[in-house]
């Protein structure tokens, strides 16, 4: 899951990036409206944390431009402007949630998780998929009730597949959602991660569709039945 943080205050931005990375997200950061708009418009983010009082380009304008460009990723506005008029304007511009500063990091993470989950059409914070259970709150994965230790990248990959459950995800798409923009992308590393995940979670959990990419096994399918 790749998150964009658009925030001009370095203190808040640093804390957000740290907390989000600790929560198992890949994070890009922009410190003004122009840069934020460009990133959000060109990179495939799963969610955006957007400040309103930004240099160069105001947060509301950035959001309105994204929406008119047809960008549908969930956007959480994080701002010190806490009057209702500003909240209504934020939602009318296309925001999906609104958190006023000062905020509690835990609350922000919970709301962000809920947004990502909602946009993926999932009902619960715990994604269950056959024998697999992924708790997005604690970033823990268990297989048949037993906890499995995963590295950050392995977790990011399995969580993304879980959110896109039932759909075939290409290696390029996986790369885009797992690495931040500065990473030297090599889609071969994806194969390495998939191999490690299969070793830890069983071969059947991740299905390879030749020439297309990967998908997570269907919730209804028994692991034994899959090819």
């Amino acid at each position: 899951m790749r998150i964009l943080v658009v925030e001009d205050d370095p203190g808040i931005a640093g804390q957000l990036v740290r907390a989000l990375e600790d929560g198992g997200y890949t994070v890009d950061q922009a410190s003004d409206g122009e840069e934020g708009y460009f990133l959000g418009d060109t990179e495939p983010y799963d969610a955006v944390v957007l400040d309103l009082g930004l240099p160069v380009l105001d947060g509301i304008t950035v959001l309105e431009r994204w929406r008119s460009d047809g960008k549908t990723m969930p956007v959480l506005i994080l701002t010190a402007r806490d009057r209702w008029r500003e909240k209504v304007a934020g939602f009318d511009a296309g925001a999906d949630d609104y958190v006023a500063k000062p905020f509690q990091m835990e609350e922000l993470l919970a709301r962000l998780r809920a947004l990502i989950r909602r946009s993926a059409g999932l009902a619960s914070a715990v994604i269950e998929c056959g024998p697999l259970a992924i708790d997005t709150r604690s970033a823990r994965v268990s297989l048949n009730g037993e906890q499995v230790k995963l590295t950050a990248h392995e977790y990011k990959l399995i969580v993304y597949l879980a959110h896109e459950r039932g759909r075939v995800v290409s290696r390029t798409e996986l790369t885009e959602h797992i690495y931040d923009q500065d990473f030297d992308r090599d889609s071969n590393t994806i194969e390495v991660f998939v191999g490690r995940l299969r070793r830890k979670l069983g071969n059947d959990v991740i299905v390879t569709e030749r020439g297309l990419g990967y998908r997570l096994i269907d919730a209804e399918t028994r692991p034994d039945d899959s090819a």
Partner: protein
Amino acid sequence: MLRIGTLTARLVAVAVVWIGAALVAGGFLLAALFEAHVDRAFDRRLDTLLEALVAVTDADTGAKGVIRVLGPQGDPRFNQPYSGLYWQINQGRKIRLASRSLWDKTLTLKDVPAVSNTEGVPVRRYEAVGPRVQRLRVIERDITLDEAGPVLRYAVAGDLAQVDAEFRPFMVTLIWSLSVLGIGLITAVMIQVYIGLRPLDHLREALGRVRAGGAERLEGDFPSEVRPLVDEANQLISHIGEVVERARTHVGNLAHALKTPLSVLANEADRGEGPLAEAVSRETAAMQQRIDHHLARARTAATAGVLGQRAELAPVVDGLGRALRKMYEDKGLAIEIICNGEGPRGALAFRGDAHDLEEMLGNLMENACKWATTRVRITAAPSADGRLRITVEDDGPGLKPDERAVVLARGKRLDETVPGSGLGLAIVSEIAGLYDGGLSLDTAALGGLSATLDLPQAVG
């Protein structure tokens, strides 16, 4: 008529004094002129009678000659006893002949200096007491009937009551007509003052509309004398609005400036451990609460009571509804909005600042969404006494009567675990109070809490 109090009263009072004085002075002048005229006419008549008498009297030569009246005496009243018209002919102090009307009485002739009458003939003119104690006017001339004869004093006297009899009806007419004229003039002045001061009445009505929230500035056609005042007032009203807006912007900037570092501090403290982190955590939370509370108060206190404010209810409620449906999308709440204005629903408006209305309704509606299980209902309608009544209901757990008082107390929150600003209902109650309104809590028909705002309604 005296609707503008002392101003109308002053103008009318001055007019009454001035008109009264002018009419009284004019009345006295007219009366004096008429009296003099009547007096002169009476004198001339007596003079004419005297000349006629001279013409019909004859005297034998010699000092002791007999004086005789040879013809009619010019007026029959000379022959009626005590008729009020008399003549008497003296030779020095001695009475030679007198009119029959004098009967057994005589006139006492006075030796006053002679004056010229209208034809330049010297006459003596004075008043005397008549046979019936009337006041008489006496006209007397010295006549010598023949060159050798004695100087005879011909005196003709008339009752002055005749002058009065002519003068009195004139005075009655005069007083009556001047009074009518006076009343007419005063009425005209009052109408003039009323019409002249009507722009001030209009100004007051326009100000009333602004105060009632029906207009944002003074509107209407005013004469050029009042126009500058209206323009000044309008500028003042818009200036106040600008000052308030500026103050609010500054307050907002202060809030933004404080909240971001506060967030950094709080989040750092949450990550750390030990007494310092705990203290920072606790104190930043307290600072946040206090900033929220006082900023909310300052924003509101700056706007309550400013003239010319009006906030349409429907757009505010609709906007909040849109935002809250999104915020509580997970709960799938049904948010129902019923704005029962008279006529179109846009007719309902709050007499006050739109920001304050948004804060009050936003907090109430968010609170309802937070606790509701499936439904939230917002009902707005004018009350019987012309105020705006907005009820926000939910189907959540509601509050017991003793909890309701606690929740309205400043800065209190019943359940610290449910996220929110922590001011919620208390600040709503405070803002409503600044507008002479109030917040009351009850059990909703839907089963949960019902919060009713009572606010001043903008009319017109």
